[in-house]
């Protein structure tokens, strides 16, 4: 049967690196991109006798994430050791949280094709990163040796485990995007999938529509972009459907996404029994969160994207599309709000400029909102110049780009470049006269009844005025002059 006749069941385990300055259990820096093994100490290198001391900020961040995802914050939580051998795991155990995680029972809301979707969060726990293995060959399996770099070892992570509530690869992608948006809003993670600070593993299974028992699942790893999450799950769903249709069994296994080939591959390595021998970490003591600690964090949370989205619809009357796009990024939303705080006439105009020129220039130059040179007050000032007819919308684009590149005030740019709109009647009348004189053919056509030619003639006026003529006036004066001509004929 076709894929449409199956219910797809997906659960995601998302790992987000926390944006602390130092590691989870030692003082080494967490900054990205340093030379190998230069951000390590006896603790994160796992030298015998060293001991962990918990980073308070990481606990705060985990609680912050929990509150933003509507979780219950556990008053008592503790750390456990997850024991397994791997060259990049310096202590041969990972300090994690097993049966008493810091947050549980939350949920995330988002929209898929206009429909509201709610995905349950099973738990959020704190744990440490492993180091990184660099393989000598093109892949791990054709490498005769690997090189270990422990700079990443001990960086704090939260693992966010969802309920198996996701019903399509698209939902999975949007869920991930929503999580990123929320985690960035609350400032706990920079969530860069390309740097690995946001990662996810997905569990997927299929069952016939209407069934209640989940099918056999596979776990997909190595999806390094939002697009890859959707693509990998689409591929895997199809693969499951084909196997089920041909009466074959799904093998419960871990598969890796190959982005180049666009397929998932069995990890083939001998499936280890997952006997992690968790037990309470004796080198750390329990965390008991006082109500005040949690309340303080709660009070410091910013307005979250979902609330902002609703407010943008109600307060600013923005279309859903605009509201969603702008609120997805906290910096962008804050920029928008700073502009409309000064320019509160036409919210949609601000939104158009942001989604248009603003984002186009940002993308072109590869910069983020924080790096944009235009001050919100200058943004507003430019819109006012347009309203006052000082500049045309066409000139405005030129001014805006110049503001973007230099950070100068719009008035300064208009003055320096002589971009003030020509609104002087006599000057425009003169230009109109010149255009009529220089274009006898089109003028004749217009007079002959071809109204469309007017556009061409207006264009000529704008061209001759180097774009500075007030377009309304140009239009009006041209019509008037042509009417005169017609009368005189």
């Amino acid at each position: 049967m076709p894929l449409e006749d199956y219910t797809i069941v997906i659960g995601l385990e998302v790992h987000a690196e926390l944006a602390t300055d130092s590691k989870l259990f030692c003082g080494c820096s967490t900054s990205f991109g340093s030379e190998a093994n230069t951000q390590i100490c006896p603790r994160c290198l796992g030298l015998p006798g060293t001991l962990p001391v918990l980073n308070k900020k990481a606990v705060e961040y985990a609680v912050r994430a929990g509150l933003a995802l509507d979780c219950k914050i556990n008053k008592f939580s503790k750390f456990d050791r997850k024991n397994y051998f791997y060259p990049d795991l310096s202590k041969a155990y990972q300090i994690s949280q097993y049966d008493q995680p810091i947050c549980e029972h939350g949920h995330v809301e988002f929209y898929v094709g206009g429909e509201k979707k709610v995905v349950g969060i099973t738990r959020i726990h704190l744990e440490e990163e492993a180091g990184k293995s660099i393989h000598s060959g093109t892949s791990i399996s054709d490498s005769d040796f690997s090189l270990e770099d422990y700079n990443r070892s001990g960086i704090p992570l939260i693992e966010i485990v969802s309920e198996p509530d996701i019903r399509s690869p698209e939902e999975a992608r949007i869920y991930m995007e929503t999580l990123r948006s929320i985690l960035r809003y609350i400032g706990v993670s920079d969530c860069k999938m390309e740097e690995g600070s946001l990662r996810c593993d997905a569990n997927i299974s299929l069952m016939p529509k209407g069934a209640t028992v989940f099918g056999t699942r596979t776990e997909i790893k190595n999806m390094n972009s939002f697009r890859a999450v959707q693509k990998a799950l689409e591929y895997e769903a199809e693969r499951h459907a084909k196997l089920l249709d041909s009466g074959e069994k799904i093998v419960q296994e871990t598969r890796t996404w190959d982005d180049n080939l666009g397929i998932t591959l069995s990890m083939r390595s001998k499936e280890e029994a997952h006997d992690y021998r968790y037990f309470p970490e004796p080198d750390l003591v329990p965390v008991i969160l006082e109500d005040e600690f949690v309340t303080d964090i709660k009070n410091s949370l910013p307005e979250l994207p979902a609330e902002k989205f609703r407010r943008y619809l109600e307060e600013f009357g923005l279309p859903e599309y605009d509201a969603e796009l702008i609120t997805a990024d906290r910096d962008l939303a804050e920029y928008f709000e700073a502009v409309v705080a000064i320019y509160n006439k036409d919210y949609k105009a601000v939104s158009n400029w942001i989604m248009g020129e603003f984002m186009r220039l940002m993308n072109e130059q590869g910069i983020e909102v924080g790096e944009v040179k235009i001050k919100p007050e200058d943004f507003a000032a430019m819109l006012k110049l347009m309203d006052e007819g000082v500049i045309s919308s066409k000139i405005a684009k030129v001014v805006f780009e110049e503001m973007f590149n230099t950070g100068k005030e719009p008035k300064t740019i208009v003055g320096e470049k002589g971009l003030v709109q020509i609104s002087d009647s006599s000057a425009i009348e003169q230009i109109v006269a010149d255009v009529i004189k220089d274009n006898p053919g089109p003028v004749a056509e217009y007079l002959g009844g071809k109204d469309k030619v007017l556009g061409f003639l207006v264009g000529q006026v704008m061209k001759l005025s180097k774009g500075k003529a007030n377009p309304q006036m140009a239009n009006e004066f041209l019509k008037k002059a042509l009417a005169e001509l017609s009368k005189n004929q």
Partner: protein, 486 residues
């Protein structure tokens, strides 16, 4: 003047008066080690050159009056305590050439105090054993009789103090590894309250049980060393942040009215008659000085050893996992792939007792057995602690034998793990409960081997533990040090 016979406190006076230098003291101990070491094998690594340099610095500190109680007094360290760039082997082939790039916190304290370090002492491999027979570098001999074990795992530290190779030493105690060798070699050894002394830089055996503690010839000297090392450490999350008294000042406290508990469970069938007699004598000495003797019960203490071997091995199986040949330590030549390398590195690097404990601990934590063994042991551990809580509502200290018998001969128990484990039968309870305990000499057996008595106190009650010991020491007199023929 025979420097070796002077107590640490006597040496302090001589140093302060300028009648002797730290260099002279260190040189005297170096000479003694050179003479006796071939017979005893107390040390894995000797650091004489650095010790002499440290002595000169100590003499400088004394001249500048920036010294403290132990400045200029040499010390020996158990070889599981990390020393910057000085081999720290844990008496294992695994770490035969391991040089830590950092000092343990206790080593920092010792260096700051200007105590010259004579060397690193022999031990049971990774502190797993009760006789030093599991050391990769061969056993240490008991200076009282070279055919007998010095006890373990801190046997090298104990022997070095008993044989006057060092006036002081540090050991570690997970289930009795300071107290049992102190008892076997006739000296004082202290297992402090869990959390009193930093564990940072001490290669762990079982993290929730391990404590560093002093060895000395007398109670006062051990109190002086305890005062130095008992400091809060922000790098150890289990370090207690309580005010720390000067333990030397609490010794003279009168025992009149002190309530001394004698638990009947420690006077069992297997207890050596001479040992029992010696303990009773120590109890009598306290009674004579006005202490009140109370019979108490510690009903779960007979389950302590079984509990201990699950908790300790479970933790050790995880603690010793990092010895995988990647970042430090031994690596096998068999490098077909990483997993093979791990397995052979660990097979070659660890001795049989360490492997046995790793296996037992791994088993106790593995799927399907966790509840039956590990979780069960943690529950019994709670009951053992509650026994003490209850007892300490009635008494101030508890007195017991340290070990069921005096030192045993080499080879006597090494083939039978249970028999070996049983020599810790009286000591593991204090580690499980996290409370302090001390062993001190209480006499000699008919075959001229020391007998140890154990004093157990409530959490952080080191002062009463020490003053009790001091009273016993005064009453019983010294058993002296062995006449080691060299």
């Amino acid at each position: 003047m025979d420097i070796l016979k002077k107590s640490v406190l006597e040496l302090r006076e001589l140093l302060d008066k300028g009648e002797i230098s730290s260099r002279e003291i260190v040189q005297a101990y170096i000479d003694r080690i050179e003479k006796t070491e071939p017979k005893l094998n107390s040390f894995v690594t000797l650091t004489f050159e650095e010790a002499l340099k440290d002595a000169d610095r100590a003499d400088e500190m004394i001249r500048n009056k920036t010294h403290t109680t132990l400045t200029g007094i040499p010390i020996a360290l158990k070889d599981n305590i990390s020393t910057y760039h000085v081999k720290t082997t844990c008496s294992s082939k695994m770490l035969e050439n391991y040089r830590p790039p950092f000092d343990a916190t206790v080593v920092e304290l010792i260096k700051q105090a200007g105590m010259p370090i004579l060397g690193k002492t022999n031990m049971d491999e990774f502190a797993m054993g009760s006789s030093t027979e599991t050391s990769y570098f061969g056993p240490t001999k008991n200076p009282w009789n070279l055919e007998y074990v010095p006890g373990g795992s801190s046997g090298g530290s104990a022997a070095s103090v008993a044989a006057k190779q060092a006036p002081l030493a540090l050991g570690t105690d997970t289930g009795g590894s300071i107290r049992q060798p102190a008892a076997f070699t006739g000296i004082v050894g202290i297992k402090p309250t869990y959390g009193l002394v930093s564990r940072y830089g001490v290669v762990p055996f079982a993290s929730s049980l391990d404590q560093v503690g002093p060895f000395a010839r007398t109670v006062a000297e051990s109190a002086a060393l305890l005062s130095l090392i008992a400091q809060y450490d922000k790098y150890d999350s289990t370090s207690l942040n309580n005010p720390r008294p000067d333990y030397l000042r609490s010794l003279e406290k009168d025992v009149k009215g002190l309530r001394v508990g004698v638990p009947k469970e420690f006077f069992i069938d297997g207890l050596d008659a001479e040992v029992e007699q010696a303990v009773r004598k120590a109890v009598k000495a306290l009674e004579d000085q006005g202490a009140e003797i109370v019979d108490i019960e510690l009903p779960h203490s007979d389950k302590a050893l079984a509990t201990y071997y699950i908790v300790a091995t479970a933790e050790c199986s995880s603690n010793l996992a990092r010895f995988d040949g990647v970042r430090f330590g031994h690596r096998s030549e068999n490098t077909k792939d990483s997993v093979t390398m791990f397995k052979h590195t660990r097979a070659e690097g660890f001795g049989p007792e360490v492997k046995r404990r790793i296996m037992l601990g791994t088993y106790a934590l593995s799927a399907g057995y966790y509840d039956a063994y590990y979780l069960k042991a943690l529950k019994v551990r709670r009951l053992i602690k509650e026994d003490f809580d209850k007892a300490f509502t009635k008494v101030d200290v508890i007195i017991t034998p340290t070990t069921p018998s005096t030192a045993f001969k080499f080879g006597e128990k090494v083939q039978d793990p249970i028999a070996m484990y049983l020599s810790d039968v009286f000591t593991t309870t204090a580690n499980l409960a996290g409370i302090p305990a001390l062993s001190m000499p209480a006499g000699l057996s008919s075959n001229n081997l020391p007998i140890g008595v154990q004093i157990i106190a409530p959490s952080l009650a080191e002062e009463v533990m020490l003053s009790t010991a001091y009273s016993i020491e005064k009453a019983l007199g010294s058993i002296g040090l062995p006449e080691l023929e060299v």
